[in-house]
C-alpha cells in the first residue's frame, strides 16, 4: 500500500447519481479485481474506499454513486484536479509496498466458466474481474441487477468484451422484472464458480441459492482502510476478519448469512 497522487482524466455522469471517474498517475499501478483505492477528499476527515472497475497501465477507472457529502464533492471535481489515493504500489518497485488495498477476487479458482452477479454498482469491480477471467481463457456470463432502468451502467462495456449480459430490474423497466436470482433462473447460464458484489440481501440470496462455489465482496464503513484500525471487522466462520484487509472478497462459506 502506498500514497500516490492521481490526476483526474474524466469525471462524467453515466446513470442516475452515478459517475465514472478516470484517474492517471505517473507510474504503473498494481491492482487486481476486487481491490479498492482509498481516496482523500479535501475537507473531509476520512478517506472514501471505492472499488476499482478497470486498470490502465498508469491509471484506474472508478464508478461511484453520490450517496453523501464526500461523493457529492467528488462529483463536482473536474479533469486536471489531483486526488491523493492509497493504492497498490508500483509492480516494479522493490520497496515492498506493492501490496494492494484488499484481498481481491480469485479468478484462478474458476475452472472453465464464471457467473458474475452484480447489484447496482457491484457491476463495477466485476468488470475488471471479467477482463481477468477472459484473459485466462475462461467463459464469462454477467447478470446485473438494478432498481430501475435509469440506474443501468457498464452493460455496454461488458458486451464490448463479448460477455453476455442479463439484466434484472426491480420495477421491470428493463430486462427481467425482479431480482438477479430471477434473471439467473431465466437465463440458466452454465458456470462452475460465481462471483458477486452488491447489496447484502442480494448477495445473501445469490450465495444461498446457487450451488456452485462462489465469492462475495462485502462492504463496511471503514476507518483506515488498510487493516490496522479494526473498524470494519466482520464475524465469519473462521473468526473476526477485517473487510478492508482480509476482504473485501470472502468465500461464500465464510460469511455468516
Amino acid at each position: 500500500m502506498q500514497k500516490r497522487l492521481f490526476k483526474i482524466d474524466s469525471n462524467d455522469p453515466v446513470a442516475r447519481d452515478t459517475l465514472r471517474m478516470g484517474l492517471r498517475t505517473d507510474a504503473p499501478v498494481a491492482i487486481r479485481s476486487g481491490q479498492f483505492v482509498d481516496i482523500a477528499i479535501p475537507g473531509y476527515y476520512l478517506r472514501r474506499p471505492i472499488s476499482v472497475s478497470d486498470v490502465l497501465p498508469d491509471g484506474v477507472i472508478l464508478f461511484y454513486k453520490v450517496v453523501g457529502e464526500g461523493t457529492k464533492v467528488m462529483a463536482g471535481m473536474t479533469p486536471g484536479m489531483e486526488l491523493e489515493l492509497l493504492c497498490g504500489g508500483d509492480p516494479g518497485s522493490q520497496s515492498g509496498m506493492t501490496k494492494g488495498m484488499g484481498s481481491g477476487f480469485h479468478p484462478e479458482k474458476c475452472q472453465e466458466a464464471a457467473l458474475l452477479v452484480g447489484g447496482g454498482l457491484g457491476a463495477a469491480p466485476l468488470y475488471l474481474l471479467a477482463r481477468e477471467l477472459l484473459a485466462a481463457g475462461k467463459r464469462v456470463t454477467a447478470v446485473l441487477g438494478f432498481n430501475k432502468a435509469d440506474e443501468i451502467c457498464l452493460v455496454e462495456q461488458y458486451r464490448a468484451l463479448g460477455v453476455p449480459v442479463h439484466i434484472a430490474t426491480l420495477d421491470g423497466s428493463a430486462g427481467t422484472k425482479g431480482f438477479v436470482t430471477d434473471a439467473i433462473a431465466a437465463a440458466k447460464p452454465a458456470f462452475d464458480r460465481f462471483y458477486t458484489c452488491g447489496p447484502l440481501p442480494m448477495m445473501k440470496a445469490v450465495c444461498t441459492t446457487l450451488d456452485a462455489p462462489g465469492e462475495a465482496s462485502m462492504e463496511e464503513r471503514m476507518g483506515c482502510g488498510a487493516g490496522f484500525c479494526y473498524g470494519c471487522t466482520l464475524q465469519t466462520q473462521s473468526g473476526p476478519r477485517r473487510v478492508c484487509a482480509d476482504g473485501p472478497v470472502f468465500d461464500k462459506e465464510e460469511i455468516l448469512w
Binding site: M1, L46, G223, A226, F228, C229, Y230, C232, T233, P240
Partner: protein, 304 residues
C-alpha cells in the same frame, strides 16, 4: 547543527518523541510492509484484554468535522497472543520502544494482564487503559474516579518492574485529581487523553451512525482539549506525561511538549494518513531550526 530529537522516558531512550497511539496502529505488524517502523520513537500496541474479544457490532466508525468517532470496542486476540506472538514478532523487526496497552474488566484482570506483559521481554513499557469509552463494565469506569484509578495502579505496580503509564479519560470533571491519585499510587507516568465520548446521527435514517450509539471522538478537533489537560496534569504531577489527542503535524508535537509532554502520541491521523508519524518525524528538524530548538528534550514543559 544536527537536531537532537531524542527524549528520555522513565529511563528508556526514545529516538524521537513520536509514538502511534494505541488502537490506531494495530500491533505495528500490519504496517510493516508499508512503512519503515524503525523511524518511530515507540509504538503503543492495540489495547489487550485477558480473553480475545470480537469488539462491538459495525458500523464502528463515523466521520466528523475534523475528526472521527470509533467504537471498535477493544477487538483484540487476548493477552496470551500479545505476549507469545504479536509483541515478539514486532520486537524482531522493530528496535524502538514497544508499549503494551492493557485493558481489563476488573482490578484482578488488569493485574493479571500486566503480570503476563511483565514477563514478556519484547515489551518495554506498560500503558494501562482505564479510559476506553467503548466497553461496558470496564475500561472507562476505572478511570473516572481517583480511588478506582489508584486501585488499578497499585494492583499493576505490584506485579511489574516495567514503567507503568496510566492512560486517562478526558470524560471527567477533574483530570488533575485522577492523575495525582495515580501518581500517589505509584504510576511512573500518565498518558492522556483517550477519546472523548461522542455521537453522530444519520438524519435520513433517524438512527445513530455507530451501532453502539456512542463512541470515542478523536482527531484534530480535540487537540486544544488534550493540550489543556496535558498542561494541567504535567504541571500538577511530578511524573512524565505522554500527550495524545488530535496531533496531526510536527507543530502539534512541539506544542504538546511545550505544554509538558515528554512523548507525543499520534492517533486518528494514522487512520487518514498511514504515514502520518514518519512524515511528522521527518518535518521536526526543519521546524526545530525555525524555532531555534536544538534538543527537543529542552522544550518539555517550557510553558509555565
Amino acid at each position: 547543527m544536527v537536531k537532537d530529537l531524542s527524549v528520555s522516558l522513565c529511563g528508556l531512550r526514545l529516538k524521537n518523541p513520536v509514538i502511534p497511539a494505541s488502537g490506531t496502529f494495530g500491533f505495528g505488524l500490519e504496517l510493516a510492509d508499508s512503512l519503515d517502523l524503525n523511524v518511530l520513537g515507540g509504538i503503543s500496541l492495540k489495547g489487550t484484554t485477558r480473553e480475545a474479544r470480537f469488539g462491538n457490532p459495525t458500523p464502528r466508525i463515523a466521520e466528523c468535522t475534523a475528526g472521527m468517532i470509533n467504537s471498535v470496542g477493544l477487538q483484540n486476540p487476548g493477552i496470551e497472543a500479545l505476549v507469545s506472538d504479536k509483541a515478539p514478532a514486532l520486537r524482531r523487526i522493530y528496535d524502538g520502544v514497544v508499549i503494551a496497552n492493557i485493558s481489563g474488566y476488573s482490578v484482578e484482570e488488569y493485574a493479571y494482564n500486566c503480570a503476563r506483559a511483565d514477563a514478556c521481554p519484547a515489551i518495554d513499557l506498560l500503558e494501562v487503559n482505564v479510559s476506553c469509552p467503548n466497553v461496558h463494565g470496564g475500561g472507562m469506569a476505572f478511570g473516572t474516579d481517583p480511588q478506582s484509578a489508584a486501585a488499578v495502579t497499585r494492583a499493576v505496580k505490584a506485579v511489574t518492574h516495567k514503567p507503568v503509564f496510566i492512560k486517562l479519560s478526558p470524560n471527567v470533571t477533574d483530570i488533575v485529581s485522577i492523575a495525582r491519585a495515580c501518581e500517589d499510587a505509584g504510576a511512573n507516568g500518565i498518558t492522556l487523553i483517550n477519546t472523548v465520548l461522542g455521537m453522530r446521527i444519520d438524519i435520513k435514517k433517524r438512527k445513530p451512525i455507530i451501532a453502539n450509539k456512542m463512541g470515542g471522538f478523536s482527531g484534530p478537533a480535540v487537540f486544544p482539549l488534550a493540550l489543556r489537560m496535558v498542561y494541567q496534569v504535567a504541571h500538577a504531577c511530578g511524573i512524565p506525561v505522554m500527550g495524545c489527542g488530535g496531533v496531526a503535524r510536527a507543530e502539534d508535537v512541539v506544542e504538546m511538549m511545550m505544554a509538558g509532554a515528554t512523548a507525543v502520541q499520534v492517533g486518528a491521523e494514522n487512520l487518514r494518513n498511514p504515514s502520518a508519524c514518519p512524515e511528522i518525524i521527518e518535518a521536526l528538524p526543519a521546524l526545530m531550526e525555525r524555532l531555534g530548538i536544538d534538543r527537543l528534550q529542552d522544550i518539555i514543559g517550557i510553558v509555565e
